[in-house]
Symmetry: C2
Subunit: 371 residues, 2 copies
């Protein structure tokens, strides 16, 4: 079965007209026409997943519904704020708990914790929060070599308001992370990835978006796949046409929750949205909170149950850790159903604690629940 | 009963030969000879407790016993490290969770959260961690006006290694906090305090120690009392003679755990140490982890049970929150037994979570368990 470390099998996407030579699972026979060009070069893959995202330190604060409505915040969403707004909002909330965050960064830290070979690209400033971010992702086991900015805005911060129903509402000051541009890209790192993973939030910055598109070209040219997480319903609203085009033309694995996939296709129901996305990318993994998730690939549909591992404390990072578990399995050639279960399990853990980086051992959890 | 806000009763310590005019509890008849001089002035008391301590941001990290022994760390203790050592140690640990800390600061934040009128004096640098510290203590409801240092070492950090048995082992880089000196003291704030609270850790810095002694003079001259927490067995070892002199001549309320009180009097048993301290200060509140605590005053002894409010997660802040609950009751004229129960309850809460600042509502807890 899956070889946890140093597994030497290539992860070359199969052109639609030739069967994939690998030994098992969904990679043998892609059941949908692949939009991928045949690989131009076939670099050795030393990393399972490389992610590009905003490098953010989270400030977790408890809040009630009245606070959200007083400040015009929409529960469960992510709003962008400038530094002044961030400072003003921070001054109005109670004591916080700081932890490294960032959607794709959470995913890559989770993959590394599971034993996957992970790398992250994102921009911090050379300040105290930047040092915390760099320490945390490296100490989780991921490669992180993006040089810290020597000047300009400070490291990105996200104020996360956790309400008593465990929902999180986020206000992000993008700071230094917004300046990520193609020049910051370590293309050698990207070439080493079997899967390049992107958070949709990058679309809020033109530079970061261009950086991602450049990286997507490189990873595909070197035989890798591209995964995208849609991040947030409002973010999809802001960039709908661009995301639709991206999914149709450049994405192999799409992650989205119910509101995001409905927003992407302006669909009235989850089922209608699922019908819309089917066939547009190799795999779509759609998460539905307490309903678990649904994984679509060609004509296949896998309904994955949720894992309830304790009281619901904070949903921060649930989607990010779902993607971590899924991609960890995916890059090991596991069946799509098992990929979904791995995602569901990791998401089930992170919602039982405060913050988006699992404090429990994910490998222990997998051993206990999935053998 | 206790008036939560704006209660106008003075907290003038009674000279030993005159009965205290206040209405209830242990303050009516001090049963031990008071070492206090009669009040010289009687300033209006607008704050219940003002604390002086190291202003620290904690970095909480999970570790195992092997890590402690590999790095020569003594479980449960606090070791001082310089910035280089701090950086080296940080590089060798896993991902962390950052939260404001500092022993006395935790106590004052707890008192404020309970509804007490609290102020804190301590020194941060004008950097990101300093801003986090200032935000957290102010947003808990405490006054904090000490100006941030514009240059010099960065804000103090404490790496807290939490082992699976929930014990914490601390490595502190004192940074900017060590530079607290009498010039930083807001004597107006001190004069407004019914109780001045000090952490023993200040004794590791000559400037901070002098600052505290100056403040103790001021608070006593204006009719307040002085409370001291011994902080750490090794800290007591480093400063035994000085602490003994302090307890005999300047301290009204002493907080210590079993190892600290034994270290102070080089006693072989808790009972021997308790016999030694009895009568040397107005009140001694001695905590004994899972055995609860013992409060001594004159010939009186109150044995206080522990409160078990959930699984033991992290003992960081247990002593600090005990002092918070105790002093909150004490400055409201509650009986010493109830003061002890308030302390025990707050400590019982904080050990069920990661970090030293209660994430649950302390007033709700008091209402539920102590009516």
């Amino acid at each position: 079965m899956a070889n946890r470390r140093g597994h030497g099998h290539g992860f070359t996407p199969a052109p639609s007209d030739s069967p994939h030579p690998a030994e098992s699972g969904h990679r043998i026979e892609p059941v949908i026409p692949s939009p991928l060009p045949p690989p131009v070069t076939s670099s050795p893959k030393t990393l399972d997943v490389v992610g590009i995202g905003n490098a953010i330190v989270d400030v977790l604060v408890q809040a009630d519904d009245a606070f959200l409505s007083d400040h015009g915040l929409s529960k469960g969403s992510m709003a962008l704020v400038d530094e002044q707004q961030a400072d003003r909002l921070y001054a109005s909330v109670g004591p916080g708990l700081e932890t490294s965050g960032g959607s794709a960064a959470n995913t890559l830290a989770g993959i590394a914790q599971l034993g996957g070979r992970a790398g992250f690209i994102g921009r911090v400033r050379n300040d105290q929060l930047g040092a915390i971010f760099a320490h945390d992702i490296r100490s989780a086991g991921a490669r992180f070599d993006t040089p810290a900015a020597e000047s300009g805005p400070s490291t990105a911060r996200c104020l996360i308001l956790v309400t008593p129903d465990a929902q999180r509402t986020m206000c992000t000051y993008l700071g230094a992370s917004v300046g990520l541009d193609p020049a910051d890209l370590d293309l050698d790192l990207v070439r080493q990835a079997e899967v390049l993973y992107l958070e949709g939030y990058l679309w809020d910055s033109e530079e970061a978006k261009r950086a991602f598109l450049a990286a997507a070209e490189v990873v595909r040219a070197s035989g890798g796949q591209v995964a995208l997480s849609l991040s947030d319903g409002f973010c999809v609203d802001r960039h709908r046409a661009s995301f639709q085009e991206l999914v149709d033309g450049h994405v192999d694995v799409l992650f989205a929750n119910e509101s995001e996939i409905c927003s992407l296709y302006e669909a009235d129901s989850f089922e209608a949205a699922a019908d819309q996305v089917r066939g547009r990318c190799r795999v779509a993994a759609l998460t539905r909170s307490e309903l678990g998730s649904v994984v679509l690939s060609g004509e296949e549909t896998f309904v994955i149950p949720p894992y309830r591992l304790g009281a619901l404390v904070d949903t921060t990072g649930a989607g990010d850790l779902y993607a971590a578990g899924f991609l960890y399995g995916y890059t090991r050639g596991e069946s799509l159903e098992r990929c979904g279960r791995l995602g569901s399990l990791c998401a089930g853990q992170v919602v039982t604690q405060l913050g988006p980086r699992p404090q429990a051992s994910l490998p222990d959890l997998v051993a206990t629940h999935l053998g």
